[in-house]
Each structure stands twice: as C-alpha cells, then as structure tokens.
Symmetry: C2
Subunit: 220 residues, 2 copies
Amino acid sequence: MGIFERKEGVTASSWIYDTLRQDLVNGRFTAGEKLAISALKERYGVGLSPLREALNRLAAYGLLIQENQRGFRVPRLARDELDDIADMRRALEGMALERAIQRGDAEWESELLAAAHRLKRADEAPEMEEEWERLHMRFHRTLVAPCGSAWLLRFIEQLHDQFDRYRRLAPGEPEVRHVLDAQHGELVELALARDVKGARALMDDHIQRSYEVALGSFAR
Amino acid sequence: MGIFERKEGVTASSWIYDTLRQDLVNGRFTAGEKLAISALKERYGVGLSPLREALNRLAAYGLLIQENQRGFRVPRLARDELDDIADMRRALEGMALERAIQRGDAEWESELLAAAHRLKRADEAPEMEEEWERLHMRFHRTLVAPCGSAWLLRFIEQLHDQFDRYRRLAPGEPEVRHVLDAQHGELVELALARDVKGARALMDDHIQRSYEVALGSFAR
DNA sequence: CTAGACCAAATAATCGATTTTTTATCTAAA
DNA sequence: TTTAGATAAAAAATCGATTATTTGGTCTAG
C-alpha cells in the first residue's frame, strides 16, 4: 500500500474557502462591505452550495460576519480590535515561543534555520510579495511549532490572519521593515541559544513594531 | 423606530447549528463516529443544505473534523488533548480573570453576584441538569466578561465547549462537585475584593479539579 | 413634509435532483 | 490464501430551481 495517497482531494468548497480566505486577508474586499453572493458566484465561477459552505466556515473562523437572513459582511477594521489582536498575539505567541524553546529538539533547530534562511532571501526580492508572505507566515509558524499545544497554535494562526488584514492594508515602511526583517534572524539566534527571556522580549518588540506598522491602515 | 428588533430570525441553518453544537458538547454522539449526513437529515428533520452549512461551521469551530470527499467525523477523545485544553483554559481564563478584576465596574459586580446566586440555587436542584449547565457556563462567562478582549473571550468559550465534551462524559463525583460549587462563591468574593493573585490561584485550582473530574471520561 | 403601509425587486435560504467520489464486494490470477 | 482489478452500492458534493425574507421605492393619511 502506497504512502502517498494523502494528496487530499480538493473540493469546490475547500478551494473557494482557501481562495476567499486569502483574498479576505489580503484586503481584496472592502472592510464593512456586504458580500453579494451571486456576484461571488460569477467572480469565482463556483456554485451556490460550495460557496455558501465556504462563507459559513469563514464566518465561524472570524473572517466574515454572518447575519441571519441578511447574508455575510466583511468585518470592519477598528483600532480597538487591532489593539486587541496585537495584545493577544503578544500574550499567546510569547507563551508559545517560551514553550517551544523549552521543548524544541534538534530537528526543530534545523527547520527553523531553514525557514529563516528562505525568508531572508525573500526579503531581498521585493518583487515576490506573495512568496514573502508565505515564507513569513511559515517562519513564525515554525518558530512556535513545538510549543506542545495544538490549540495554542490554532489560536495564533487565527490571530495572524486577523492581524494581517490590517498589516497588508497599511502603507509599507521600508525602515521599520528592515528592522523587522533583522529581528527574524535574531529570534532564531535567541531560540537556538535557548534564551527564553530574551526571545520573549524580542518577540514582544517584534509584534509591537508590526502593530505600529499595521496602525498605518487607518491613515487617511 | 423600536429598539427590540434584534430578535434575530432563526434560520434552519442556525437552528441545526445550535442544536448539533449542544448535542456534540453533551456527548450525544460517539467520539470518533462518522456522521451519516442523510441520517442526521432524518433525525433532525432538516434539509441537506442547512445541515451541511451547519456541519461546515462546526468543523471550523473545532467540534467536528471535516475530510474532503469523506464527510464529517466527531473528534476522538484523547488524554493528550484534554491536557492541552485544560492547560489552555488555565492560561487564558487566568489571564482574562486578572484583567476582568482590574477593569470590571460596579455593574459587573452586581451581575456577578446575580449569576453566582442563580448558579448556587441550581446546585441544590440536581434534577435540572440542563439548567445548571446553562447557569454554570453563564457564571464563568460573566466572571471574565470585562477582560476587555473579545478574542480572548471567544477562545475561552471555544475551550469550554471542548472541555465539556470530556467533563459531561465523566461520571459524577459528588465530593469534588461540592468543592467546585463552593469555589464559585469564593471566586466571587476574591473578585469583589479585587484580589487578583488570590483569584488566579483559585481559578487555577478550580480548573485543575475540574480537569481531574473530566479525566474520568477515560474510566474503563 | 413625514411616518407608516404597501408593493415590487433583490437577495437569502432552502429544497430536490444530479453528478462525482469513495467504500464495499466480488472475482480471477499469483 | 493473498492481491489486484472491476464493479455495484453508498455517500459526499454540487447544481438548478423554488421559497421565504429583506430592501427600497412609492403612495397616502395626518
């Protein structure tokens, strides 16, 4: 029996879910907008049933707001909520990082170095935004992966998606961005040195700076 | 213009979602079981579309597992996962309680006293299990409500549902239960006294004891 | 004018039937 | 016996059409 059949079948429903999730995180919809379901049907070329299933999932995940009898809306962006999301990221990712450093094994160290390296190369290729986003997400995921709590990782991922709705809308700030990029490398160093305190402090700072960038999404 | 129209319309989809969520938390389905969609259709007397939408939401929420092309399964119960859930409850509810005590106002104090009182009366009426569960959930929600973070509250609620899958399956332990009931009152006292440290410690102990009860779901 | 009542158009929700994929069963060859 | 392949039955996913509800405009009474 082969071991390769885990190539999970993609259904229309799962495809449109992934696609919409990305588009929502990337700000391809206006915050506060009411989704015209039949328009989405056209735009993405999917049927009503898979589309509605995806919208239901996205609402349960927090990327949409569902109101009975009046469809789905894109959540508004609010400074209060960004504060909340950033706060929670600090608390949860800090906790996760601490545990990851205490529990991560040698294999983790390797993967972390690899992820950081891939990200660093993407830092220097400003044309491949999408690729950078993928690698950035993956780096942060790798960093906390061995924290030992599936639920913690789940919450963190959810918060990342929420946070990115703001960040990706904000204007780029090359100077801050440069600092943030450098911090990824420093995080790896502290993690490998098993410096829990230092790593937590740096992560706090990293999220704080990202938060300040994301605040730019409210610029007028 | 009236202010009462928030009586949100209940759709077939939202009804079956609520119903299934309760039934899942209450252990009316066997852990690990594969859901036969057409059987559910009969059992609950709903159509396929609203049912599938509800299942999709429940999967996104974590009360079901969705596998492309092969439907939905009830997650297995695993000691590891219960450990994780309890750990996270300690961390997140502790954090929320701390903040709630720092931020809760006089109105909160009143509601907290009321919630505790209602719960206490239900403690003594062993016939109304369902009612007690409602009030118990509500008490814990009230306790942390003014923590200031919508996301934290959301995660806590999700963890409660997960935790209760185990707890409600475990055999009752009247002695521990008595202690747990008493702790609710003590939590209120400490909260009103704004004793952050004390309240956190008690909450830790409360969750720990509940966890030990919930472990009974693995009894053979 | 303005609040409400009414109606038509638009949209959400749901149904019943069809298509696609998986799972179970059977058979023949190794 | 196994194992691979074929195939029938079951189940999941999707479609197209129908029903129910909301929304937006128009009219009328006060």
